[in-house]
Amino acid sequence: MQKFARLLLPGLPVGFLLIVLVAPSLRLLAEGGPLQWWEPWTDPYLLRRLVWTFVQAGLTCGLALVLGLPLAWVLARWDFPGRLVLLRTLMLPFVVPTLVAAMGVLALWGPQGLVAGWGGPDLQGSPWLLLYGNLFFNLCLVVRAATDALQQVSAARVAAARTLGASPWRAFWRVEWPAIAPWLMSALCLVFLYCFSGFGLALVLGGQDYATVEVEIYTLVAHELQLAQASVLALWMLLLTGLVALLYAVLERRLATPLRADRMPRRRPRGIGQWMALVLVLAVWMLVCVAPLAAIAWRALMAGSAAWSVLLNASTWQALWNTARFTLLAVACSAVLGLTHAMAARRSLPMRALVFLPFVVSPVTVAFGLLLLYPQWTASMGLLVAAYTLLAYPFVAKSVASGLDAVPPHVLQAARTLGATPWRVFVRVTLPMLRPALRRGLAFAAATAVGEFAVTLFLSRPEWATVTTLIYEHLGRPGAAHRDAAMVLACLLMALALLIFVLIEWSAAPASATGGDGGVRNNGVVVEQVHA
């Protein structure tokens, strides 16, 4: 029985990854062929796409750092009313589906957006729309990582610097900054990864001029049937994202340090200047992270009853049903795969590294590879759910693996000496102790599946439209009525995301109480949401 369990634990996730991820990626390799290998770097059109993909990712990193660090510092060092609420809402963008975020940015800054309606600029056709969308997701990621990092800074070292004559500003740059820089680098790696391999935002906000490589792959496959060219691009993306992911993995290992006991105490802001600074950084957060969601709600409310009638359409109910059943199936499969992978990863470093593999490969690459390798199952429910599961289960595996790390081994040993068999120890001790981590992982998996867009666009049949693809369909049709209907549907999807957010935050307290989620892990869990 134990031998069977030992084989099953790694066998199940490894087999799944081989069939759904590795084999399709190798199939992509075969499609490319050696002659076209350098084409993306010699063809001016593709080169422009590649360069823009790099530039927009780099610019987002810079902006997220410049805007996020002051907010993180304020959260880590100052005590003010609403601080805890703000810390919790930083999780919100991670459960908002990509398409909803894109709609939010359009509702705010697009041609018929709120800002344009008030006489402000219309950012459609400019690179700022995509950068703004990127910031919506990534500012919070940087803020969370930087807040965690700043809370690890040794109070004694900063005090020593001050007594040696450093001003607060100099103490920050000479003591705090070197301590938090690795955390920031790690977070920025993930921001880069997300923006570099992002699809949904770039598809809706980039337009023709500012489309990224992932959008180009989709266009080549879905509209131009240039499979060879698409596969070469996909392979380059795989290679480049793999390199950045490797850098992230190296940085993350260096960050695995225990929590500090001598944390810097928080204090209330002093004087009008500090309160003004607080208001300023909070305004930036509101503008980047809250305004797009508020704009969707506002636009949907203003849309009128004709637009809201979309909720009564049979196609909407069908899409909701599809979203619900695909999500439920994916979450059920993710629970099994995530648990087995995490249990196997407990004893094996390579298994632990494998958890990250699905994050390295973009959903577009996965879907394209699956399309090439299993053409006979292209419109099969099994393949679609498998692809959903591939994107969702790593959240469960990562969260449960962190939870398992927090279970003291001698507690399990105590159960054995009290007469429990290994299986009984798992059922009576391990599983109940993992419940908060499992719930958190499943909630992230559900958020990923609910907002899934890229894979559904590639692999589903017309009658399997989900809420995300239905929104995209409405956006693609001309006329204000369709745009308004898309806003209402986006509102519906946002409500689903909020529900999941509440579920995650509800499970957050018990998880931290068992010590299962330190700063680095928070960053990790959040971070992997980037591919959702």
């Binding site: 000496t417 007469g419 419940r435």
Partner: protein, 214 residues
């Protein structure tokens, strides 16, 4: 009778236990003293069945139990930090072993409440273990260990997490409760005072070998 015959263990290319021999009779408390890293906790885990020796054997009642799973040995091990189950309340922590012995949960809980009452912990049965003080957690851990009526009680630095006054108080309580049950008890500690207060015999574990102290 518990017997260790030539128990041998390597750890990171060095000999941790170099052929340990020990006899332990029912009702006897034997202490093993040694500094950190000397292998005393490893020895205790091998007796409990949580680790396997690289050589030698462990016998109970004349039967070789070296390869026997820990849950089948009927030995109770008390850990340094008590290893209480944070997801269960005090009552269910104590009832844990009885449920594993096949007792129905209500009956196991009733026995646990009874045991906790005798330990002066009746008011704490529904508390979470995290809400207890160090001394209270210690009593719960002992109640949990004793309720299954183990053949052998294994104590791994049981008082090291407590303050000096509580340590002295609980030591006396432990000796009394162990004596009531006539169990063989193996105590591992680095505190000679603790060993003298509790044990009838004591050994020092030096360079992987047991040396008689008294």
């Amino acid at each position: 009778m518990l017997e260790l015959r030539n128990v041998y263990k390597m750890w990171q290319a060095r000999v941790l236990l170099g052929g340990v021999n020990l006899l332990l009779q029912p009702g006897e408390v034997v202490a093993i003293l040694g500094p950190s890293g000397s292998g005393k906790s490893t020895l205790l885990k091998m007796v409990a069945g949580l680790e396997s020796p690289d050589g030698g054997a462990v016998y109970w009642g004349g039967q070789d139990i070296t390869a026997m799973a820990p849950e089948r040995r009927g030995f109770a091990l008390m850990f340094q930090d008590f290893a209480l189950f944070a997801h269960l309340d005090v009552q269910d922590n104590v009832a844990f072993g009885l449920v594993e012995q096949g007792l129905r949960r209500p009956a196991a809980r009733a026995q646990a409440c009874d045991m906790l009452g005798r330990f002066g912990m009746a008011a704490f049965v529904h508390r979470r273990v995290a809400q207890l003080s160090g001394g209270e957690q210690q009593r719960v851990a002992l109640a949990r260990a004793l309720i299954t009526q183990p053949h052998v009680l294994l104590l791994d630095e049981p008082f090291s997490a407590l303050d000096a006054q509580l340590r002295v108080q609980l030591r006396a309580e432990f000796v009394q409760r162990i004596a009531e049950r006539n169990m063989a008890t193996l105590l591992v500690t680095h505190d000679e005072g603790e060993a003298r207060a509790m044990a009838t015999r004591a050994y020092a574990l030096r360079d992987g070998v047991l040396q008689v102290l008294w």
